[in-house]
């Protein structure tokens, strides 16, 4: 993947920020999150127009040809505004998986439509238990002449109910492979799952002899690579969300008066805010560092990603959770945005692995790094 200059990146991030400030304001989020599709088609088109949807797609396939650095930067804005969209599913996970698999025919056919937003794709990765290791895959692929048949169940499929293309990870006779499936085809049954985070869409998908088309060569490595890209993106979202929540919480603490003083003048609130600043800044550092290392193909990129995955997840949840407490009663109402962020933070903390999973793998990286 290519990388923009620092200046281009800032300009691009700025254009995304302005678009989202304008069209992913709290009222927009509340409206969109209650729709069945969970995204606003016009905003999605606008995001595609400025290049955010095809951000990491190669220019030859109609994308911006950017990399983890740009992706992380954009996702900070996404997290800050709680954007409701299939960007992570289609623009990151599916696009990342296709590019890593490097199947020229499939890429030429699929990536341009993903990049321009006309095709929403997603990846079906895990089974009913929800885990992101090879052993958690619960779909089996069997050869049917030159074609493939898929059986089993994928769950927690992000935006599965609105996808026009499924990239299904399945256990085949030659190991883990990725299969292109038309969600409208026979033997595919999609059930939307009700989510605690209303800005997210998840689905359970059952396959009963569904037709699949093999993409690229078998192996878990491309799946892991796509997941790692998605984790960096998610880390950016978490860092951006945490910063925004802290920002409006500190703002409230400056203006809310109790006992004749702004509540932010009390140490109880002030010290929580100071601790949250450390959380939020650390999350930002972790997300950006992971992006830098992944972009550079650094040997410790994996450790940096695992660190960002648990640090940003924990930070976003903690900032949101404490922010509600710091607001007091007002944030106990549905109309206050704090709980929307907490719901998103809790979702983000589970997607593609919970913090304890990433901590375990971080230590494995530490072990591997030095005999």
């Amino acid at each position: 993947m290519g990388t923009l200059t620092a200046q281009e990146r800032l300009a691009f991030q700025d254009s995304v920020r302005r678009l989202l400030a304008d069209r992913s304001a709290e009222a927009d989020v509340r409206r969109t999150m209650e729709t069945p599709s969970g995204y606003a088609a016009e905003l999605w088109a606008a995001l595609a127009d400025i290049g955010a949807v095809g951000l990491i797609v190669d220019p030859e396939h109609g994308g911006a040809g950017a990399g983890p650095l740009e992706l992380e930067a954009v996702m900070e804005e996404v997290g800050a505004t709680l954007l409701c969209s299939p960007l992570l599913s289609s623009g990151v996970l599916a696009a990342g998986l296709l590019q890593t698999l490097g199947d020229a025919e499939a890429n030429a056919r699929l990536l341009p439509r993903i990049a321009d937003g006309s095709l929403i794709a997603t990846a079906a990765l895990t089974g009913p238990k929800g885990g992101w290791r090879p052993k958690d895959v619960a779909v089996r692929a069997s050869a049917d002449g030159a074609a493939w048949r898929l059986d089993g169940e994928a769950s927690f499929v992000t935006h599965g109910q609105i996808a026009g293309l499924l990239l299904v990870v399945a256990e085949g006779p030659d190991g883990i492979g990725v299969f292109e499936v038309d969600p409208a085809s026979a033997g595919v049954s999609i059930t939307p799952l009700p989510t605690f985070d209303h800005t997210l869409r998840l689905a359970r998908i059952e396959f009963q002899g569904a037709a699949g088309r093999r993409i690229g060569a078998p192996g878990w490595a491309p799946v892991e690579a796509a997941l790692d890209l998605a984790r960096v993106a998610l880390a950016g979202e978490q860092a951006g969300g945490a910063r925004r929540v802290l920002e409006f919480t500190v703002g409230y603490a400056k203006t809310r008066i109790q006992f004749g003083r702004a509540i932010g003048s009390y140490q109880a609130i002030k010290h929580m805010a100071a601790d949250l600043l450390l959380e939020s800044e650390s999350a930002t550092s972790a997300a950006r560092h992971a992006a830098v290392q992944l972009a550079a193909g650094a040997p410790d990129a994996k450790a940096a990603i695992e660190l960002a995955a648990f640090a940003c997840a924990d930070a976003f949840v903690k900032v949101c959770a404490d922010a509600i407490q710091m607001h007091g009663g007002i944030a106990f109402t549905w109309n206050h945005p704090a709980h929307l962020y907490l719901r998103r933070a809790r979702a983000d903390a589970q997607l593609f692995g919970a913090p304890d999973f990433h901590r375990e793998r971080f230590v494995a990286e530490l072990e591997a790094a030095h005999g």
Partner: protein, 397 residues
């Protein structure tokens, strides 16, 4: 006990009297609301509703210990209605501080449970700082005109009266210009709007009060002494209400034994050493709180003062937040879901949000720590910048 000896009834004669009355009157169960109303009226009439109260107000002037005897006999047959001298917040507050006219009018209906009540204390601008209320009550002849906004009011829609604190004097320090009323709720000037909570439920309301009328006889205590009446009412409330904290909401049972153990077993992670440590921590906190509560009660019986009571709410707040965290840890990706088809996720997520009911409602954890630090440990207060100045000059949001 020594002071019982002076009373006209002995414990034993009392016990016999209650038993005989219950044997003659208690139907064994109440099948309808009409049954319930009839029964309550009978209990009140027979002076069993508030046996510790003075005879002037439907009581029997019994000692606290004798009141317990009555309660035990009612409990033994499963009959409701007695013990309201301990548990009926509204009637106790009215008895303690109400005008004779208001007592005549409302005490019996309150004891019979015929009057719906709610609390009109908190305001959007006065949460932790309750004495900072800005709802006003202005005297006009034989009544007060009330204007303002209240929040976090349960049962407001069905209430006949609200126990209201409002400001009647703006030129004295904040605690001294407040008065306490029974505000009639069923009037045009009182508008109740449900308040949707973070959990999606609407247990509470906002109440908008515009030129509402409150008869002067509905004033409790003297004008400007409402803060003191409020303390009386809050003390009744605290002595009656238990933890009030809600756990999981799905109602789908988690199997035998300790719920978190059952949940982890069901989720197939009970052998995970990390999960086990976390379960131990939360179950430990719960048991410690139960032990503290038991010790506090024992201390109270022995007459020694106890620091433990005041710690319960703070402890419960921590327990609820921690239990939510551990449930989430156990469920993993399963916690992404919600709704009736996913009761475990529903429980973890509801608890995550509803824990704030305890850590914010009824005084935030931060306020609780102030109270514990100051009243239990005797640490000095912070400087209070708005305590001694006229309320007009107090800074507000």
């Amino acid at each position: 006990m020594a002071d019982d000896a002076a009373l006209p009834v002995t414990d034993e004669s009392l016990r016999q009297e209650v038993r005989a009355w219950l044997a003659a009157n208690w139907p064994g169960e109440l099948h309808s609301e009409a049954d319930r109303q009839g029964w309550m009226a009978k209990v009140v009439e027979a002076r069993w509703a508030v046996p510790r109260w003075p005879t002037e107000w439907l009581g029997r002037d019994l000692s606290d210990a004798q009141g317990r005897i009555v309660e035990r006999e009612f409990a033994a047959v499963g009959a409701p209605g007695t013990g309201q001298d301990r548990t009926n917040l509204w009637a106790n507050t009215l008895l303690a501080r109400g005008t004779h006219a208001l007592k005549e009018k409302l005490i019996a209906p309150l004891l019979r449970g015929e009057v719906g009540m709610c609390l009109l204390y908190s305001e959007p601008g006065a949460g932790s700082d309750l004495a900072g209320i800005r709802t006003r009550a202005d005297r006009k002849g034989d009544h007060f005109v009330v204007n303002g906004q209240k929040v976090w009011t349960s049962y407001a829609a069905s209430a006949d009266y609200g126990m209201l604190i409002a400001r009647t004097d703006w030129d004295v320090p904040k605690h001294r210009g407040i008065s306490f009323f029974f505000l009639p709720m069923k009037q045009p000037g009182v508008e109740v709007r449900p308040l949707r909570q973070i959990t999606g439920e609407s247990q509470f309301n906002e109440v908008f009060i515009t030129d509402a009328i409150c008869p002067a006889e509905n004033l409790l205590g003297e004008l400007g002494e409402g803060w003191g009446v409020l303390q009386t009412a809050l003390a009744y409330e605290r002595s009656v209400m238990g933890e009030g904290a809600r756990g999981p909401r799905s109602g789908v049972p988690e199997g035998e034994g300790e719920p978190l153990v059952a949940l982890a077993r069901e989720a197939g992670v009970l052998s995970d050493p990390l999960i086990r440590q976390e379960i131990a921590k939360v179950v430990g906190l719960k048991r410690l709180n139960a032990l503290n509560t038991a010790r506090a009660k024992a201390d109270l019986k022995q007459g020694t003062s106890s620091a433990l009571m005041s710690l319960g709410k703070l402890a419960m707040s921590r327990i609820l937040h921690e239990e939510a965290r551990v449930r989430t840890l156990i469920l993993g990706a399963g916690s992404l879901l919600e709704g009736p088809d996913f009761p475990r996720a529903e429980d973890a997520n509801f608890l995550t949000l509803n824990a704030y009911f305890t850590s914010i409602g009824g005084g935030t954890d931060q306020i609780q720590r102030n109270i514990i630090g100051e009243r239990v440990l005797g640490l000095p207060k912070e400087p209070e910048v708005d305590r001694d100045i006229p309320f007009r000059e107090v800074r507000t949001s």
